[in-house]
Subunit: 160 residues, 2 copies
DNA sequence: TTGACAAAGTTACATATGAAACTAATTTTA
DNA sequence: TAAAATTAGTTTCATATGTAACTTTGTCAA
């Protein structure tokens, strides 16, 4: 009757477990060593290569929402890794930059995270790495498309 | 100098973005339709195929910690999807089962999540699906190993 | 110009999540 | 067997994260 559902073989479950262990591993570099959260790390990583962005430009490049970015900016300012100016032309916009401290921390993090990334991928051949990225990309695009569909289905079905 | 770090090309970032969109997509089934959280869904999924487990047996099969399971059990009891008895031999242990309601909900969820899983993987050939699972598995095992290493390194380096 | 609408951020609220401390029951050990 | 250690599960505390409401500033149309 109840055709045994096997959680361990369920693709979304596998992906989440996979992602969790990868995230934890890399967070041990920027998290355990520098006390940075994912949002803070991402914000620094983006400003590290594109100085002087507004918050919404960071949103656009980081898969974070504006609330996360706003909070990351606040905390990074508080610890002195980031400074904020107001855009002269549009006073709603901020102009965000890493401070010298922030740049120094970021610069020292780069080789560390690259090292862990390299170790993570060590069990794979060059070709396999490319394949993994490509397969994830395909499924991700499909998920993105499905989200739209599911959302509109829901809208149709909604009561009231 | 600052050899541009490209977040979008950073493997752990890619994995997290990938995982987030997959999770959101599948959660639209059990979340939006039945108001279940990830922990609740996993708990039901495990009890759906293995009735009468203790909380720690669920922990062992679900990649959740005992706090998450404890909370999922509480909320599932509250909405009447799960019932708890105390183990006769070891009164610390619980004996958890889905109620009839819980079983009915779970049974109705199975085809829906299977359908979305199928659609997610549609862009991939059979062989590619197996490959994706295998590649994730390899990297995951490596991450697991690395976590141990990093943890012990940290212990060595600790101040005080 | 001014009133409606949009955009950039922030704040408030709700929920999720995990580590550590705690309680109760059981097992081990001296 | 009584004290010590272990196990199962819960609670507390701190932090994370997302939605919605809100503030400020800017744009566009009448």
């Amino acid at each position: 009757m109840s055709e045994a559902f096997n959680l361990a073989g369920f693709f979304p479950y596998q992906v989440r477990v996979f992602s969790t262990v990868i995230s934890e591993t890399i967070a041990q570099v920027y998290g355990a060593k520098y006390g940075l959260s994912v949002s803070e790390w991402r914000t620094m990583a983006i400003l590290g290569s594109h100085q002087a962005l507004s918050a919404s430009e960071i949103v656009a490049r980081s898969s974070m929402d504006k609330v996360s970015v706003s909070r990351a900016v606040q905390s990074l300012r508080k610890i002195g890794y980031l400074k904020r100016d107001i855009d002269g032309d549009d006073r709603r916009k901020s102009v965000l930059r890493l401070t010298e401290d922030g740049q120094a921390v970021f610069a020292s993090l780069i080789p560390l995270v690259r090292e862990v990334e390299k170790k993570l991928l060590e069990p794979l051949e060059k070709g396999e790495r490319a394949q993994l990225a490509q397969l994830m990309q395909k499924v991700q695009a499909q998920a993105f498309a499905l989200q739209g569909e599911l959302r509109s289905q829901e809208a149709e079905t909604q009561d009231t």
